[in-house]
Each structure stands twice: as C-alpha cells, then as structure tokens.
C-alpha cells in the first residue's frame, strides 16, 4: 500500500516536472516557430494576424520572392552577410591560432603586455569607439567596404578566441613538439601538421562564435555600410521594416527573419557541444 502510494507520488512529480518542461519549451520555441511557419503564407494571408501560424491557403514562397524585390534584394544582402561572416571566421581563426600558439610556446619581449592589451579590449565596448573606427576605415580606403567591416569583426573576436586558443595550446604536452622537432619539423609545419589537429575542438568553438558574432552584428554594420549594395541582412531587414521601401510588408519581414535565424539555429544544433564548451571556458576563467 505505502509502496504504491509513494510510486504514485513519484509518478505525479514526474508528470509535473515534464509538463513544466514542455510548457516552458513551447514558450521559448513559439516565436521562432511562428515566424518560420508564417513566412510560408501567401502574401495576402501574411498581412493578417498569424492565427493560426501555419498557412491555411496553401504553402507559398511568395514572401521570399517579394523580399528579393526590395532595394537590391534579399540575395545581395544574404551574399554580403555570408561573405562577411565567412571571412570573419577564416581570418579570426587564422589570427587567433597563430597568436595563441605564439603566446603559449614562445618567450619574447612585451609578451605579457601584448596579451593583456588584447584581453583588455573586452572591457571597452566597440560601441563607444565607432566614430573613430569610421574615420580610420576612411583613411585606409576601406570606408563602406565589406572588408573594413570584416576587420572590425575580427578584432571584436580576438580577446575571446586568443584566450581560448592559448589555453588549448597550453593543454598540449610539450613532449609532442619535441618529438616532432627531432624529426626536423619547422615551426610552421609543426603548428599546422602536429598541433592543429590537437587543438581542433578549440578551433571549431572560436569559428562558431566568430560566425554567429558577424552574422548577427547590427550597429557597426548600420554605421559603417552606407551604400545599399553593401547592406548585410540585419541592416537591410531593418531598412525594410522601417518602411524605407514603402508600406511595411510583414510577410517579407517574416521571410527575412527566417533567413537570418535558420543558419544560427542549424549551426548551434549541429555544434552545440562546442558552443557550450566556449561558454564554459569563458565562464569558468
């Protein structure tokens, strides 16, 4: 009897816990699901309140087509966003792997000073130095170019990613290098052939953060990209949502938001382990 009662209580507790979990999950997922589903409505229907969220008069890609007709089009901004994000990933990985290796394995003048300098940039937000960044880019002839934006984004990633990579290299035993050096490997071959495979998880982590950072950044892109053909997705979508291209087409907004969210969600779901790792590395230290 008593056993059955306790089993019942346990069952009830479990049902309670899982209903809480499910309700909370639905609340967190709902806005995303709502936008993704509504984007597939025909334009007429997308203008009405999204009740229910799914299309009732047939699936349609009309909203994506409309989006592509605004300004220079969805595709141009998407290309800009992809270019900026991929370049930010490639360059910040290259620069951080080199610097992480340098800080981890060599002793040279001003080493500590340089390391502290790079880490301390995190204390001063770029939002407060955007104006001079704008002027520096102009001086360098990089004003209103995606390359200039990439330079800014890479610099923003450096404190986190160099910190990550230095720790990753620190964790590799020196014996491995000594053995490779005996075999006559030069510094650079050693880094690329011997060390890189060992710090690969760290590289994936910083690449993921670099991509998400660049893909989602708004203020710098808004300030530095003045020409419509250079707009990244967030800037272009905000221009559309502000009514810059005439009456606001909410169907196009849903489609644009979907295009902006889906790559982040896919990358996160695929590389979740690395994302949480990065978060913990940042959190524990």
């Amino acid at each position: 009897m008593a056993q059955a009662a306790s089993r019942n209580r346990k069952l009830l507790a479990r049902i309670g816990e899982h209903s809480t979990g499910i309700i909370a999950s639905v609340l967190f997922a709902a806005p995303i699901v709502w936008a993704v589903l509504s984007a597939f409505k025909p334009a007429q229907e997308a203008r009405l309140p999204p009740l229910p969220p799914w299309p009732t008069s047939g699936f349609s890609l009309e909203n994506y087509a409309t989006l592509n007709s605004f300004g220079d089009g969805l595709w141009v901004s998407a290309q800009n966003s992809i270019y900026v994000s991929v370049m930010t990933v490639v360059l910040s990985v290259a620069v951080s792997v080199l610097a992480g290796y340098g800080f981890s394995r060599f002793r040279f003048p001003f080493k500590d000073l340089f390391f502290i300098l790079i880490l301390s940039t995190i204390m001063i937000p770029f939002q407060s130095i955007l104006t001079p960044i704008f002027l520096v880019l102009t001086k360098l002839g990089l004003h209103n170019t995606l390359t200039g934006l990439v330079g800014v984004y890479v610099t923003l990633q450096l404190p986190f990613s160099i910190f990550m990579m230095r720790n990753a290299f620190d964790a590799v035993p020196r014996e491995i290098e000594e053995a490779a050096r005996m075999d006559g490997a030069s510094n650079l071959t050693m880094l690329l052939k011997v060390m890189l495979p060992l710090v690969w998880p760290g590289v994936v982590t910083i690449a993921l953060f670099a991509f998400l950072g660049a893909w989602n950044e708004f203020l710098a892109a808004l300030v530095l990209m003045t020409d419509q053909s250079k707009f990244t997705l967030p800037v272009m979508m905000t221009a559309l949502q502000s009514g810059r291209f005439g009456a606001i087409d909410w169907g196009a907004v849903q489609a644009g938001v979907t295009v902006m969210m889906v790559p982040c969600l896919i990358l996160f779901l695929a590389l979740q382990r690395f994302y949480i790792r990065g978060l913990m590395a940042g959190a524990v230290k």
């Binding site: 407060s128 950044e217 979508m237």
Partner: protein, 306 residues
C-alpha cells in the same frame, strides 16, 4: 678540438633557442596589429576628437572642454543615461527571476533534460537584430500576434497598440529580452550549480536542513562568483542596449526609450556631431570602466583559495 666543440655546442644551441623564441613576436604580430588599428588608435582618437568641434564635412577645430561643458547641460543625454540605468536594473532582475528557476530545473540529470536545455537556449543564438525584427512583427497592432490574439480571445474589446505608450512598450521589450537572454544566463548559472559538491548538500539533508535553508546556506554562497559573472554579463549587455530600442521602438514613444548608445549614435551619425559624440562616448567609457573595476572585485577569488 672535440672539447671546444663540446663546449660551444650548448652555447650555440641556447643562442639558437633564444632566436627561436623571438619568432613568437611574428606569430602574435597580426593580432597586435589589428588591435592597434581597430582598437588602440580609435580609442586615442575618441579622446582627441572629444576636444574638438568635428563635423563630418569641413574643418574641425580645437574647443578644449567645450563638448564636456555642453554635456553637462544636455538633459536629453542624462535622461538617456537614466533610462539606460533603469532598463538595466529591471531587465537584469527579470532575467534572473526566469533564469534561476530554469537553471535549477535543468541542472538535475533526468530524461529529456538535454532537450529542455536546448529548447530554452535556442533564442540565445539568434541575433538581437533578428529577435527584434521578429518581435516588432509579433507586437504590431494590426498584423502581429499579441494584440489580435487577445482581441480574438475576448480579453480586450478593441485592438490595443502595445508600442504606443511607454509602459506597455517598455515591458514588451523586457519580455523580448528575457525570452532571448534567459537561456544564456541559465547555462552559466547551471555550471555554477553543478560545481557545488553533492556531499555538502547530502550532509545538510542529514543535519535536517530544508530545501530553503540549503539554498541559502550552501547554494547561494558557493555560487557567488557564478552569480557575479551572470550579473556582469547581463549588466554589461544591457548598458550597451541599442538594437531592440532602435528596431522595435525607434527610441519612442516620444523619445522616452533612447538609451545611452542610441543617443551617441544619434549625435554622431544622424546629426554628424562627431566631436560631441566622442565626448559622450568618453563619459560612457568612464562609467563602464568604473563598472569593470566593481566587476573585478566581485569576481575575486574566494578568500583562502589561491
């Protein structure tokens, strides 16, 4: 011969090793160059420009502390700063009120916990701009979700524009930010909870401590650094808030939701008063550096350790 060779070999090796160490400079050079060009120089220029009248076009000239004197009388800037502080306090409390229970919920291993964690965390990887665009649609009075849904359910007798007046607009932003950020704070708090030794809790149970007493006497004190970190990330993010207020509210209604960064943006890139914008940035920088020092103090290692 052999003795000389034997004597010089280590010396040459050491010299070579010494030269090899210098190569480290080459490895870190690109990173340092980027930080100099995109951080150090702009930082120095901010200070320099703040002492000038610096329009976008035409000559700039030195005006000493003129910009700073003007700031003292810039009531709109102080209002923006006050609003930013208000927003930071409210949103941080709201985030913690949601994130802490979530962290306690996903901390214990049980079936589906991983799935719940992922679901709660998903909005955190979506950008602030995407989230703001998404919510600006959901909050729209005619084509959005909330107002029409409440109307259809009979909760209100005519459609209510959530973004037209300060209170509902402000709380809508809070809701959106909590939705987006709570999962992130949850993960950080969860890491702190998991680092508390299980036997401490068990010992307390044996001593007859109830869940609330255990929470106060064990969980909270042992999580001080984690709490401080979560607090810092939330405060630092909120003080620099821009995207959501620009995209959803355009600083309205009636300029009541202009944040500090938004005001600097307006002065620098809408009015093109670059020197004045730089001076405003310097004020914001001082506030942020002061906060950083408080943060370092909060994050200090517990006494007796390290």
């Amino acid at each position: 011969m052999t003795t000389i060779a034997a004597a010089t070999a280590p010396l040459r090796a050491r010299k070579l090793a010494g030269r090899r160490q210098w190569i480290g400079l080459l490895y870190v050079a690109p990173a340092v160059a980027l930080v100099v060009v995109f951080f150090l120089i702009p930082l120095g220029m901010t200070a320099w420009m703040s002492l000038h009248n610096w329009p976008l076009m035409g000559e700039h000239f030195y005006i000493g502390l003129g910009n700073y004197v003007a700031i003292l009388r810039d009531t709109r800037f102080w209002n923006a700063l006050r609003f930013t502080a208000y927003y930071t306090v409210i949103v941080t409390i709201a985030i913690f009120v949601v994130a802490f229970p979530l962290a306690l919920f996903v901390e214990r291993p049980r079936p589906l916990t991983n799935l719940y964690r992922t679901m709660f965390f998903m909005p955190a990887v979506v950008g602030f701009a995407s989230a703001s665009l998404l919510w600006s649609w959901l909050l729209n009075v005619d084509s959005g979700l909330f107002s029409p849904a409440a109307y259809d359910l009979g909760l209100i007798d005519r459609k209510f524009n959530l973004l037209a007046t300060f209170q509902p607009a402000f709380w809508s932003i809070i809701a959106m930010v909590v939705w987006k950020v709570a999962g992130f704070t949850m993960i950080i708090l969860m890491a702190g909870l998991q680092s508390i030794p299980q036997d401490l809790q068990e010992a307390a149970v044996i001593d007859g401590a109830g869940p609330f007493a255990r929470f106060r006497a064990i969980t909270l004190p042992l999580m001080r650094r984690t709490l401080a970190l979560a607090l810092i990330l939330s405060v630092a993010g909120s003080i620099l808030a821009f995207d959501q207020f620009y995209i959803i509210l355009r600083g309205g209604p009636r300029n009541q939701t202009l944040t500090a960064v938004y005001w600097i943006f307006n002065q620098s890139f809408v009015s093109f008063k670059l020197g004045y914008g730089a001076a405003l940035s310097m004020v914001l920088l001082v506030v942020l550096v002061a906060l950083s020092l408080v943060q370092l103090w909060l994050l200090r290692k517990p006494e007796g350790l390290d």
